[in-house]
């Protein structure tokens, strides 16, 4: 109906009328409701990751300020952080990111077998990462580095621990997606569930090298 009305007026009065119409905000008829460019779920998750980035930015900012204002870092009487084994662990986590990438490719191709295989690989690598980190923590606590041993200990456990919690949460999500993938939930047209999980996993993976560089190497 609206289209007809506008069509009539424009054919009757010509171009000038249309110019007046848009001056009052009238303008051409509205386009029909299109599918959004980015789906709600994906947009929501992107914003959640944005908030997570700000959360870690706050922590990393605090860490940098505290570290730069300390005269000697790491403090002399404290145990050193295990750089090499954590470097290996970094590779483990990056590999899990690669596996997740393959999983989302498989989801797009609707290759159910590969999808669940790569998801399992992601989860196993992620779990291995957490295990190695847990082993490191036990050793460090044995050497006497705790939350209370000055800024060195508290920033280390706060930053690495909060990242570890995020990995744990993401791991649970990967586990659920793996379980659903095995049941064939993503066989049809719905790869979105896998892609969202992949997006969050990639965030957790991408955050790690930053933390490794700042906390262990720098």
């Amino acid at each position: 109906m609206a289209r007809e009305a506008t069509a009539r007026s424009s054919s009757g009065d010509g171009v000038e009328t249309l110019a007046h119409a848009s001056a009052f905000g009238g303008g051409p008829p509205p386009p029909s409701q299109a599918e959004p460019v980015i789906s709600n779920a994906r947009l929501g998750l992107m914003m959640f990751i944005g908030a997570e980035v700000m959360f870690f930015a706050g922590l990393i900012g605090a860490f940098l300020v505290l570290r730069l204002s300390s005269e000697v870092w790491p403090p002399p009487a404290q145990p050193r952080l295990p750089v090499w084994i954590t470097g290996f662990n970094t590779v483990v986590l990056l590999c899990s990111g690669l596996a997740m990438h393959r999983a989302s490719l498989a989801a797009r191709l609707r290759d159910r077998l590969r999808l669940s295989g790569w998801l399992l690989a992601t989860a196993v690598l992620g779990a291995l990462f957490l295990c190695i980190q847990g082993y490191e923590w036990v050793r460090l606590i044995g050497f006497g580095l705790t939350m209370r041993s000055g800024l060195y200990g508290s920033t280390f456990y706060a930053l690495i621990g909060l990242h570890g919690l995020h990995v744990l949460g993401a791991l649970v999500w990967v586990g659920v997606v793996w379980f659903l993938a095995r049941q064939g939930s993503y066989a049809s047209d719905q790869a979105a569930g896998v892609e969202l999980c992949a997006m969050y996993w990639m965030f957790v993976v991408a955050l790690w090298p930053v933390l490794y560089g700042l906390v262990y190497l720098y």
């Binding site: 009305a5 119409a21 008829p29 386009p31 959004p36 959360f55 706050g58 508290s154």
Partner: protein, 580 residues
């Protein structure tokens, strides 16, 4: 949401009301969640206001018995006399409650939820379930905050800014669990805000009705959209800082304690969140004010795009001004100058908004309704608060007035001034929210009382501040040079009591109108935006069919149109045919 699911919902809401629990308590309907936030905020307003009255009593008649408070057990009060620790608790909790549990729930939670979907022509939020969780998580945060009054040692007493090391260790304030619960409550609230802001942003980006382009959105929606972005990005920084503070308090770490840590770091993190927070509070107030002024001036808003762009500018600048809260913290003077300049720049977009509001009123066919009066009240108080802000932004002046009552006067003109926009919004959207009109005679009485006593309460505080009256002081009479302000403090206190009494007509009017107010028509204010083409109150799903939007929200007094308003969803070829 799929079409089928949406229409199923709509059918469901039109007929049988669902069960009590799913309709009123665990509702996923954005309008019900909006009302829940509104009631939560108004309830907390009563608590926060009562705390303010106790503070004022102590300042006017220090260390005397507060009437009617003899029942409060020791050590909170001694036969009605407020001890210093309790005084610290009072101003801490007054600010915390007013900021986090009154202005945010009402303006962002309440009106954000109620208005966003319906003003952009959507049936509901993008994530209705997340929306419900957002309210209930927020309510849990409120319960934790109120519960902190009842733990041993009382509620938090380190100021709402919780500066370390004062709050880093219980020995400094004598409050242990109170501050722990304060931290926990804000931590929980952060999740509520996170869910809310993700929902708002997604809804505005993805759920607009056909034809509702970004620059056809009402300024209320623009303001809530920008607020949600600020909330999404600012609050996690506070969450991180709260986490570290909690570690300091509970696991004896040293992030913010002088022994190895850095007390000043807390101030940086807090104000990095805190300054965007100020705009999180005020932007929605600016948005609803713009809409209300335009409706009752029967004129398009003056400079619509400039209004939207200036809000974006304010939001952007809010990230780089946090240091102006810390001029006296011993920071590098050069850095202080940089913060001074960025802060001064905020005056430009703020002035654009103010002049555009005046430009909207100028030459309009003004209808002096209650919402308009409150909106003008907001603008005028914002001008006073904005101008005093320029004094404080200037480092040399701030050195003199820092942490005095001048600051208290300033932030009450701005933040407590938001209450005018809040009342304007309540009177304006009450018919849509509850389907009944509020009484306008009592509304005018409410406005006159609130406006006069608000100014009598807060304006003299400027003089106190310049005279050197400290911001947080238990008994000003212990200083000889402050004794001259005794009478002024009594005057302010009496005005504050009268300000509180002026709210009685509102409470009575609100409750009475809920049940017995005149039934509201679909569009009682003859306004353009989409919510007014839905029934009052709108059913579940808001619109029978998805509205088509043809124009911007402020087409009032359009030449060639019979009425002086032109709803956004009315198809019209005639306006084009007649021209000017």
């Amino acid at each position: 949401m799929s079409e089928a699911a949406a229409s199923a919902h709509a059918d469901h809401g039109h007929h049988e009301p669902a069960g009590f629990w799913s309709h009123y308590v665990f509702s996923t309907d954005h309008k019900m969640i909006g009302r829940q936030f509104l009631f939560l905020g108004l309830f907390m307003l009563i608590i926060g206001g009562t705390l303010a009255m106790l503070i004022r009593w102590q300042l006017a008649w220090p260390e005397t018995e507060v009437p009617g408070m003899g029942w409060v057990p020791e050590p909170t009060m001694y036969e009605g006399i407020i001890p210093p620790n309790t005084y610290n608790m009072l101003f801490t909790m007054h600010a915390t409650i007013m900021i986090f549990f009154v202005v945010m729930p009402v303006m962002v939670g309440g009106f954000g939820n109620f208005l966003i979907p319906i003003m952009i022509g959507a049936k509901d939020m993008a994530f209705p379930l997340l929306n419900m969780l957002s309210f209930w998580v927020g309510a849990v945060a409120g319960v934790i905050m109120v519960a902190s009054f009842f733990v041993v040692g009382g509620a938090a007493a380190g100021g709402w800014t919780s500066y370390t090391p004062l709050t880093g260790d219980a020995v400094f304030t004598g409050v242990n669990w109170g501050i722990n619960l304060w931290v926990l409550s804000l931590f929980v609230l952060a999740f509520s805000s996170l869910m809310g802001s993700i929902n708002y942003i997604t809804t505005v980006i993805n759920m607009r009705a056909p034809g509702m382009t970004y620059f056809r959105m009402p300024l209320s929606i623009w303001s809530l959209f920008i607020t949600a972005i600020l909330l999404l990005l600012a609050l996690p920084v506070l969450t991180a800082a709260l986490g570290m503070l909690f570690f300091d308090r509970v696991f004896a770490t040293n992030f913010f304690l002088p022994a190895g840590g850095m007390p000043l770091l807390w101030q940086h993190l807090f104000w990095f969140f805190g300054h965007p927070e100020v705009y999180i509070l005020v932007l929605p107030a600016m948005g609803v004010t713009s809409d209300i002024l335009s409706v009752f001036s029967r004129k398009p808003i003056f400079g619509y795009r400039a209004m939207a762009y200036s809000m974006i500018a304010i939001a952007f600048l809010s990230w780089i001004v946090w240091g102006h809260h810390m001029f006296l913290s011993g920071m590098n003077p050069l850095l202080g100058t940089a913060f001074m300049l960025t802060t001064m720049v905020i005056a430009v977009p703020s002035a654009i908004k103010t002049f555009n509001w005046l430009g909207t009123l100028w030459g309009g066919s003004i209808r002096f309704t209650v919402p308009l009066l409150f909106a003008i009240g907001f603008v005028s108080n914002f001008v006073i608060g904005g101008l005093s802000g320029i004094f404080m932004a200037s480092t040399p002046v701030d050195i003199f007035i820092h942490d005095t009552y001048f600051i208290v006067a300033h932030f009450h003109y701005v933040v407590a001034g938001i209450i005018f926009a809040m009342f304007a919004a309540i009177y304006f959207w009450f018919p849509k929210m509850f389907g009944r009109m509020m009484n306008s005679t009592w509304g005018i009485v409410h406005f006159i009382g609130t406006y006069i006593f608000f100014n009598l309460t807060f304006f003299p505080m400027h003089f106190l501040g310049v005279g050197g009256h400290m911001r947080r002081i238990y008994n000003p009479m212990q200083y000889e040079y402050l004794e001259q302000f005794g009478d002024m403090n009594v005057f302010i206190t009496i005005s504050a009591f009268l300000l509180a009494i002026s709210q009685i007509p509102f409470i009575v009017n609100f409750v009475w109108s809920l049940f017995a107010g005149e039934k509201a028509s679909e569009n009682p204010w003859e306004a353009n935006t989409l919510e007014w083409s839905a029934p009052s109150p709108p059913p579940h799903g808001n619109f029978a069919t998805t509205p088509q939007v043809y124009r911007g929200p402020y087409e009032y007094s359009v030449p060639g149109v019979e009425e002086d308003w032109l709803p956004q969803d009315r198809p019209l070829g005639a306006a084009a045919a007649t021209g000017h």
